[in-house]
């Protein structure tokens, strides 16, 4: 069900008014980036298609005043530092860039996507879940995707973020004080690393870090996991990938169900062996060199286990964001135009308890809106919807979320 012209206009002016209120309030969570004068800024505005880029500011006050006056729907800053950030791309004079990571629920496999994501084609066909490459009905490509956000998707993304931070800290030796984590305001999390050690890295070096984190090119035999040759298998406490693979295999041995073991690609005999001798295999894995497991599952099974272990230990990041040294990233403390939620700064130790829909809400009070259509929404322990063509009173942030998502418009009376 689509929204009509009038509904869209109402929604737009409502969103703009609320965003204006937010920026006028002098939001304490707004966090201008370090070395602000060396950064490029970019903005999107309500009802406009093009991004205003190559803006620079001489102070945080100037930036705040700009946000208050122009009320952008989305605000970004460069991960890079430039000698002249306001110049055209070729003349900016790249100095260095933060190492940034984006973990997006879009890139995670979550079964709930089929409950809340939809795709549609111009021919009228629609379906649940992520869009297929081509429309099954008419064959057209480039289908429209409508991604929804839900707590379990974001919970998965949060797990990935914690895993990322753990690897950066223990493997790369990056201090917590050099990392800042943010809720993106929509479907994921960002992590910025600001440190001399990474600032001047080029794209190829950053790509190596990405490959490290995502496990691309990991060769198990380089870490002592050959089927036949070499010494005992590395212990879970070994440094780097050796330890991570070992840890993942320990996990597989400890808690994989019959179904999960089969999904790994193990033959029925190997599955039975693991289920039947769990304890002794685990003991052998941790203390006895791990030959027992290798013998039980055979060459093919061993390969499948290693593949799964690498997948488990890898972090699902958006690789492009990390390698691109000229990228713009959301300004912490600004509002995300897709949701009206705050791009929320999180302390590294505050991540676990962070509740996106509650803690990133920018507004208090309630609003009456007409919802065209929306799946169920959980907010601050309360559950709303699903709705279909009805007028309801909602907490202001939930109302704004539906409006930003194009699912609702303010009720007129």
């Amino acid at each position: 069900m689509a929204m009509d012209e009038r509904g869209r206009a109402l929604a737009l002016s409502f969103a703009k008014r609320k965003f204006g209120e937010y920026y006028a309030s002098g939001p304490p969570r707004l966090e201008p980036p370090s070395e602000l004068i060396r950064r490029e800024f970019g903005f999107l505005f309500f009802g406009e298609k093009f991004m205003l880029r190559h803006r620079s500011f001489s102070s945080a006050e100037e930036l705040r005043a700009f946000l208050k006056e122009k009320v952008p729907s989305d605000a970004y800053h460069s991960t890079a530092l430039y000698r002249d950030p306001g110049a055209e791309m070729e003349n900016k004079g790249w100095i260095g860039a933060d190492l940034c990571f984006d973990i997006d629920a879009d890139h995670l496999e979550a079964p709930c996507k089929f409950e809340h994501d939809r795709w549609s084609c111009e021919c009228g066909a629609t379906g649940a879940g992520p869009a297929p490459r081509a429309c099954p009905k008419c064959g057209a490509e480039g289908l429209k995707e409508e991604a929804w956000m839900c707590e379990s998707c974001l919970e998965r993304a949060k797990d990935e973020l914690l895993k990322l931070i753990e690897i950066l800290c223990s493997d790369f030796g990056i201090a917590y004080s050099d990392m800042s984590a943010y809720f993106s305001g929509h479907r994921g999390y960002h992590l910025h690393v600001r440190s001399e050690a990474v600032l001047r890295m080029g794209e190829s070096e950053r790509r190596e870090i990405v490959d490290y984190l995502t496990g691309v090119g990991v060769d198990p035999s380089a870490h002592g996991f050959s089927i036949s040759s070499g010494g005992p298998a590395p212990s879970p406490s070994s440094p780097g990938w050796a330890g991570r693979i070992s840890m993942a295999i320990t996990e597989i041995l400890t808690r994989c169900s019959e179904e999960e073991l089969r999904a790994i690609g193990l033959a029925p005999r190997a599955v039975r062996a693991i289920l039947g001798e769990r304890d002794s295999l685990l003991r052998d894995w941790l203390d006895g060199g791990g030959w027992g497991l290798r013998r039980r599952v055979g060459g093919k099974g061993w390969g499948a286990i290693l593949k799964r272990a690498i997948e488990m230990a890898s972090v699902k990041i958006d690789t492009v964001v990390t390698t691109d040294i000229h990228r713009l990233i959301r300004l912490p403390g600004s509002l995300n135009g897709k949701t009206g939620l705050v791009v929320m700064p999180l302390g590294v130790d505050g991540i676990e308890d962070f509740e996106p829909f509650t803690d990133a809400a920018a507004f208090e009070g309630e609003e009456r809106v007409h919802v065209v259509e929306a799946p169920r929404l959980k907010l601050g322990g309360e559950s709303f919807g699903p709705y279909r063509d009805e007028t309801v009173t909602l907490p202001a942030s939930a109302a704004l979320l539906l409006i930003c998502k194009g699912r609702a418009y303010p009720a007129v009376n």
């Binding site: 990474v198 070096e205 691309v216 090119g217 060769d219």
Partner: protein, 366 residues
């Protein structure tokens, strides 16, 4: 810690640079008759590097000449200017350094890494890797990544190393290999900005080297596009790899593979392709032939390889385009499309490529 022999082995080191400074020689001195042997040795360094990719040794007792000839050779190569020749020179010097470093004491290797190149490197106190390898050193991952960016062997991939707390474990030989990269980069940096004012009294030597560089590099260079290869129709990725290979840049393993498979797909023969790679600073005729033949399916798996698709090129950082090539998914498809070759589907048959009978006119409906 550094005797004269050490300074001669490592003329790029901070210690050697200090020694040269302390001798207080001017350019005029170097052009003089008494110091003739230094200039002669410098010319020999450059010449042997260009012609044979190696740096000659020195006679016992001639360490002084050896040390002083190094900065002079760099100056000469700066004036020669030819980038391909400069790369060959830098590579030869860097390989020479590697040869000495891998045989030297851990203390000296460490000292050069830290003191000369400012690397964050330390002794590892005997960390044993899981492969039973003994790591004598640890280097910070940022330095490690900078130095291994152009190394292709999979063993250098960061994810296949023991990385802990930001430190990568290395054997002495591996650290020496990283230092080879440092030496290479440092020399390239220095030859790219020759002293102002031109060669002056060194003009005859410089012009001899220039002549040498021209003929040596021309042998390798393949100026005209091989018959049948239409430069204008090449996708940007392949064009860049191709031009890189011709100008003597070392391509990554994936880059070489992609370009070879592409050129093979474009109809070039093995010999023609091998010639394309001849200008690379690290050209090795036998190895290149082996690789090309492998890709042609004459060796190993007997499969004729296709060039990687755009996605793969992107993953390996070989796709230069941010804006894409108009939705093309494969470099070969780009080339065929530009050439006006069309993909048609025969009823019931496999997908084939068919050339239009006549050149397509701009508004032809052919």
């Amino acid at each position: 810690m550094f005797g004269k022999i050490d300074l001669a082995k490592y003329p790029f080191s901070a210690e050697a640079a200090e020694y040269v400074r302390s001798r207080g020689l001017t350019l005029e001195d170097l052009a003089s008759q008494e110091l003739r042997p230094i200039l002669a040795k410098a010319e020999e360094r450059a010449k042997e590097a260009i012609l044979r990719g190696r740096i000659p040794g020195w006679r016992s007792g001639e360490e002084e000449i050896e040390i002083l000839s190094y900065p002079v050779a760099i100056m000469l190569m700066g004036f020669v200017g030819d980038q391909g020749a400069q790369r060959r020179f830098a590579l030869a010097e860097a390989k020479r350094a590697y040869g000495f470093l891998r045989e030297d004491s851990p203390e000296r290797v460490l000292r050069i890494g830290e003191g000369t190149f400012g690397m964050r490197v330390r002794t590892a106190g005997g960390i044993r890797s899981d492969r039973g390898k003994f790591y004598e050193f640890e280097v910070h991952f940022a330095d490690y990544l900078r130095d291994t960016a152009s190394l292709r062997d999979g063993k250098w991939k960061l994810c296949n190393r023991a990385l802990s707390g930001g430190w990568v474990g290395l054997t002495k030989e591996e650290l020496a290999r990283l230092l080879q990269e440092e030496v290479y980069r440092r020399i390239l940096e220095r030859v790219s900005s020759p002293p102002p004012g031109g060669p002056g009294p060194f003009e005859p030597v410089v012009s001899r080297l220039k002549g040498l560089a021209e003929s040596a590099m021309a042998r390798a260079e393949y100026i005209e596009a091989p018959k049948g290869l239409i430069l204008e129709a090449m996708p940007p990725c392949m064009r860049s790899l191709y031009e890189g290979a011709l100008s003597g840049r070392n391509l990554s393993h994936m880059g070489r593979f992609a370009l070879t498979a592409f050129l093979a797909g474009a109809g070039l023969g093995e010999e023609e392709i091998i010639r394309v790679f001849q200008s690379s600073a690290d050209f090795d005729g036998r190895k290149t032939r082996y690789q090309v033949e492998h890709i042609f399916g004459l060796r190993g798996s007997r499969i004729k390889y296709k060039p990687p698709k755009c996605d793969t090129m992107r993953t390996h950082g070989l796709c230069p385009g941010r804006d894409g090539c108009g939705g093309v998914r494969h470099p070969m498809a780009y080339y065929e499309h530009k050439l006006g070759l069309r993909r048609t589907r025969r009823p019931g048959g496999a997908e084939t490529i068919k050339a239009p009978p006549t050149p397509v006119s701009p508004d032809g409906d052919g």
